[in-house]
């Protein structure tokens, strides 16, 4: 149903833009991959379903010409953050927003079906995904296999758009739930938290997939994890250097992470890397009442200040 509306919107804007970025089916029914539509005929290749997970907005800062893009609510936060940071020109982007009721985590589905080859995928009207394999069909509730971010999603309808394909949806998730996991984790003892991260980060193979997928990691080839000028970390595969890399990623995203979850989605080692950034977001909310990617006129808190900080108290020794 949305699919047709998306196609209609693309057809409408196509004459005005160089290309429209959206999704097509990937190498099997479970995977989608980006589709760049330049001519009307290519519109037919488009698909729109809960498997359209990837945050396509990462392409935007590097594209100089006028483009169209299809975004979900969560993806739109990236655009808002880009606008706050002056990384894109709003005039050069036509946004087709699609209200979203939740997407599917491919990782979770594969785990459920025991990593079998997928023959096909279908969606029923009851919010289920039906996965066909050689061992038969498996019906899974989307809500059970959604990424963590969907469970507390506050922005099912895109925050910015030029065309909205579908009717706006309001979030039915309580606002307090967003940072609940962080609060719970924080209640652990220091030793527990240290042990947790040492165990998780030990797994890191420093493939930098998390960084490459991150829409806010604007440095890319200049990333200080790999430069010698400056030389922040060595190439050694030690826990210290792995820890350092993830702290660099987190600190550089302070007050900027839009919680799209791409870093975690692409991690081959299943490290909960988004958690570090979410923790900082929790603090940004508390300290500056700031939430990244929500207000196009907002100012990232690390690039500004107040002479009198209401929430920052001097620390005593």
């Amino acid at each position: 149903m949305s699919t047709e509306k998306v196609k209609e919107a693309i057809a409408k804007i196509l004459p005005d833009v160089e290309t429209v970025i959206c999704y097509q089916q990937g190498f099997d029914g479970l995977h989608t991959t980006p589709l760049f539509i330049k001519i009307p005929e290519e519109i037919n290749g488009l698909i729109w379903n809960p498997l359209c997970v990837q945050n396509l907005t990462s392409y935007l800062p590097s594209i100089k010409k006028k483009v169209g893009i299809v975004v979900k609510g969560c993806d739109s936060r990236t655009i808002v953050q880009y606008l706050q940071e002056g990384l894109i020109d709003r005039e050069k982007i036509v946004i087709i927003g699609v209200p979203c009721t939740g997407v599917v985590s491919v990782k979770k589905v594969l785990r459920e079906i025991g990593h079998q080859p997928v023959a096909g995928v279908a969606f029923d009207d009851n919010g289920n995904i039906v996965v066909k394999t050689s061992k038969g069909d498996r019906t899974l509730a989307i809500a059970d296999v959604c990424p963590d971010k969907c469970a507390t999603c506050q922005y099912p309808t895109p925050i910015v758009y030029d065309y909205l394909a579908g009717d706006p949806i309001k979030s039915d998730k309580p606002k307090e739930s967003v940072h609940e996991d962080i609060r719970q984790f924080d209640e652990k003892t220091l030793e527990e938290k240290k042990a947790y991260w040492e165990k998780e980060l030990e797994k890191c193979i420093r493939c930098y997939a998390c960084r490459n997928a991150c829409p806010m990691c604007i440095c890319q080839d200049s990333c200080i994890a790999e430069t010698r000028e400056p030389h922040w970390i060595s190439q050694k595969l030690s826990l210290t250097e792995k820890f350092m890399f993830h702290m660099i990623h987190a600190v550089h995203l302070a007050g900027r992470c839009v919680e799209c979850g791409e870093c975690e989605r692409v991690c081959p080692m299943d490290i909960p890397v988004a958690k570090l950034k979410k923790k900082i977001n929790t603090e940004m909310k508390e300290l500056f009442n700031y939430e990244p990617g929500v207000d196009p006129d907002g100012k990232p808190p690390m690039y500004t200040f107040n002479v009198d900080e209401v929430k920052i108290k001097e620390h005593k020794l």
Binding site: T240, F305, E314
Partner: protein, 143 residues
Amino acid sequence: MSVVAGKELRIVGFLCNWCSYGGADTAGVSRFKQPTDLRIIKVPCSGRVDPLFVVRALLTGADGVLVSGCHPRDCHYTDGNFYARRRLEMLKRLLPFVGIDERRFHYTWVSASEGQKWQQVVTDFTNRIHQLGPLHVKKENEG
């Protein structure tokens, strides 16, 4: 050997050139005795202190890190310490999340005339770190 075993722990201090480094000089000129653990790195401004320097120090061997700048509103560069305050506060809140006691990191403001305050800060922070003990119990064989 970098610290005298059993007597010292490793404490790194980032001091802004105009206020706190001067404050430490004032304390020195006045012969205000202090514990010897602190190693001082001079930076032009507390705004120059990337929180990642603190992280780097804590991850690679420091038991405590101290950052000291000019008092807010009295920054030699007008606004440097205002940025520092936000960034360092962010870090202070992040550290316990990864299992590092936030008390191992302290940031404060000491002016060039406050030799006595500097003595107090160094003494109190060093005592605190000694109370917390070494951060790196089992030394990794690195570096």
